[in-house]
Amino acid sequence: MTDQEIIDQWKDQDAPLLPVLHAFHDRDDYLSEEAIRVISTGLKIPLAELFGTITFYHHFSRSKNGKATPRVCTGNVCRLNGGKEMLEALKSEGATPMPCSGRCDDMVPVLHGDQVLVGSDANSLDHRATPLPAPNPGGSEECVFRHIRAEGRHTLAGYRASGGYLGLEQAVQGSPEALVEIITDSKLAGRGGAGFPTGVKWKAVAEAAGNPKSIVCNADEGEPGCFKDRAIMDHDPHALLEGMILAAFATGAHRGFIYLRYEYPETQGILQQAIDEAHAANLMGDNILGKTGFHFSLKIVRGAGAYICGEEGSLLNSMEGKHPFPRNRPPFPVTHGFEDLPTVVNNVETLASASHIARKGAQWYQGLGLGDHTGTKVISLSGDIQRPGNYEVPFGFPLATLLHDWAGGPRDGRTIQAVTMAGLSGGFLAGDDLEVTLDEPCIRGKGSFLGAGGIIVFDDSRDMVQAAHDAMAFFAHESCGKCFPCRIGTQRLTERLNDSGGDLALGDWKDEVEDIGSVMKATSACGLGMAAPLVTESLLRYFPDAIETHLSCR
């Protein structure tokens, strides 16, 4: 395609910048200076602003043949499994490191252009499908994984064979208000980590003034140790689409977007195929299922490597082609979302859950939790554990049962020293606190949170100060650079964990780390800066001796 053909294809569409950048990046294998000038003129974005925005994303290459050079995952799980050695082995091919790329239940992933290869070392790299969740290990009833293991579930025929789109067919027989009520009654809440009640969100968008409204699926699964959305999208894409169509019906939105992280190139193809199938079957498009006036179309927007774009304000800015800083809140996306119009932003797991709930009812979903808890949560389990993978647990499920009974416990001869919560964002749990149950009230009681449900296991062979450093280095790498406490705080905390901050005595060290942590938690502008100090806070709580040893060994 010529420059002008690319610009013409996108310039009058919604959210054109990222697709245009990808089109040039794919065609030329990098973003050349000429390309950037052409895009600036074509999309009427000031050159300096466009250039600055491009540099925000770490996967856009600005040197020749840059896209094709391998990117090796040296994320917080992969560095336990030989990620750094893999990087070293591929250095001769120009390999560069990338943060966690969401494949922590497999060997080390390497991104080669638009293909993910996995292997334990450079000689065993192989292209293979995303691992399926293991057969239901506990026998408890599942929601999102209910049919995911069924043969051909990713096709429309396979999806329908196990009851897919029945929920939608039922819903359109009733009113949008009735659907919102079902979702509200089910007590489904945001599964991306924030836990906002989904029904309340949909209702707010349905009632908000302004059109067109949008449904945005947050599929920017960037949290280290989280890989559940990838499994859902790769093996059960129609469940996500059905959830989005339901959300559209409930709110009156006519346009939808899936913001998909760059590191999931194969997923884009799977989703696109599902979207095409759904269009052909009148499950998307105009007058869906024969219902006059029910229009909805969906497009995939591919990210380009920036963890913060999983924060909804950043995500919306990124889609709009702006510098992806988080937005000041209020106002919230339900009234001022994509293009400042009412917008639902939901996580993949939330939307997939909604399609099951629409079919089986609110009471059914509520009943899936243990005790007073309602519903289920997918946990991505990785690190030093026998059987890493995605496990759907009822809320209120004991962590120890998940670790030892479902996932086989630690590696032979080892014991579990600590686990992270919410990927890295919840910091560590250790000691007696490993006896928690998997639900927010219990885990928040320990100063952490369940969040998106990533749990990384560290056994007794690991240096916890090093683990904390690597976690903080991730946050420093991904801090957007807007608010002062996060931009400077993540950097200074990283330096305090690797001693490049000067020769501090233990007392001063603690003093500085605690002061930084407390100002970050209280004053940061978004969740990244508020959560990052949980890493040092939990390190100080559970491993004071390790810190002392670390400082005295300098």
Binding site: T55, N328, F484, R492, G501, T523
Partner: protein, 363 residues
């Protein structure tokens, strides 16, 4: 200050225990400023959209767990706000110590720019310990940028993005922006070129809003070591008819720099390259300081104003007498304000009886 007239009052909140009225759309910060609370800020410039980056302006609001940025939070009815608790003041001090830790030095000369003392003043006010939180410094200076006006010393940058925002929102140039993320953030032009290769018009507004002196007025700073106090004199820029208010900075009898007047009704802190930087003519040896009259042999002789004006008037009259009214053609200067332009056309029309009057800005 606490009470507003009925027609502009939309609600009342409690500010540090006192009931305070607020206007439509007012933020907590604006209310606090009006009530002289002196809430500290570094990323705030009243002319720009509130940004919420420095977090120094955070205040406690009852019912909200974390402190909120007062600059981005709108006042609402019945809100209970505290602007200066012990916890807030401790956070502010820690934030200032963190910010100070990323800069090479915090004391900069006043001639650097209008807002250049903001950061240092806050460090003093909060008795913030510089030297705490040691580690890597941020920003990469671009001191080799080949331009005669703006020094780009990003070793002293704190990434408040006031320069980027003023360039986009006030000047509309979009010449500079933000490169990279997090601690690696830098202020750059497109492709990280020099300013003169960008769409910069050298209006200098970035310099004047910079709170640390990272951006410095290269011309003013030449007088750094000139002895004497800096005196500021309010005046109006002489370059064009807009009438931008300026504060002329002098040391002794020398003009050393220009500050835009933030309260200037025509410019609200904006200037152009000429008003901001082109003041050297004042002391230039070639500058004419007396009228000159051209003589028969083509040389000039110095004269007094009365003699010179008489000579000019005689010339005009002679032309009219010889060739008629329409032989005179007036061109008013684009630098002249409205009133002077009016007087000029009156002079030509009423004085000479011709409509041959024009203005150089029409060319």
């Amino acid at each position: 200050m606490n009470q507003l007239a009925e027609e502009i009052r939309v609600g009342t909140l409690t500010l540090d225990g006192e009931p305070v009225d607020f206007r439509e759309g007012e933020t907590i910060y604006e209310v606090s400023e009006r009530c002289r609370r002196e809430v500290p800020t570094l990323c705030y410039d009243p002319r720009l959209e509130a940004f919420g980056a420095c977090r120094l302006c955070v205040v406690e609001v009852e019912g909200i767990r974390n402190p909120v940025a007062s600059c981005t939070t709108k006042a609402t009815e019945g809100m209970v706000v505290r602007t200066r608790t012990k916890t807030l003041e401790k956070h502010r001090k820690t934030l200032l110590e963190l910010v100070a830790s990323e800069n090479r030095d915090t004391k900069v000369d006043e001639l650097s720019g209008y807002a250049s003392q903001e950061m240092n003043d806050l460090l003093v006010r909060y008795d913030a310990r510089t030297g705490r939180f040691g580690g890597k410094r941020s920003g990469t200076s671009n001191s080799k940028d080949k331009n005669p006006f703006i020094l780009r010393d990003y070793d002293n940058c704190i990434s408040c993005y006031r320069c980027v925002r003023v360039c986009a929102e006030q000047e509309g140039d979009h010449a500079i922006n933000i490169m990279n993320r997090g601690f690696d953030t830098q202020i750059i032009t497109e492709f990280n070129n020099d300013l003169r290769d960008s769409s910069c018009t050298f209006c200098g507004q970035c310099v004047q809003t910079c709170p640390t002196g990272a951006l410095t007025d290269k011309k003013a700073i030449r007088a750094k070591d000139t002895p004497g106090e800096i005196k500021k004199t309010r005046s109006v820029c002489t370059y064009c008819g807009v009438g931008c208010s300026v504060d002329i900075l002098t040391k002794g009898d020398r003009v050393v720099g220009i500050h835009p007047a933030m309260d200037g009704p025509a410019n609200e802190g904006a200037l152009c390259i000429k008003g901001q930087f082109a003041f050297d003519f004042v002391h230039h040896p070639d500058r004419l300081s007396k009228p000159l009259i051209k003589q028969e042999d083509g040389t000039f002789k110095e004269a007094e104003w009365d003699e010179a004006l008489q000579k000019a008037a005689d010339g005009f009259l002679k032309v009219r007498e010889k060739y008629g009214n329409h032989a005179v053609y007036g061109v008013a200067s684009g630098r002249a304000p409205h009133e002077a332009a009016y007087t000029m056309q009156k002079f030509i029309r009423a004085g000479f009886g011709t409509n041959y009057i024009d203005n150089c800005s029409r060319a």
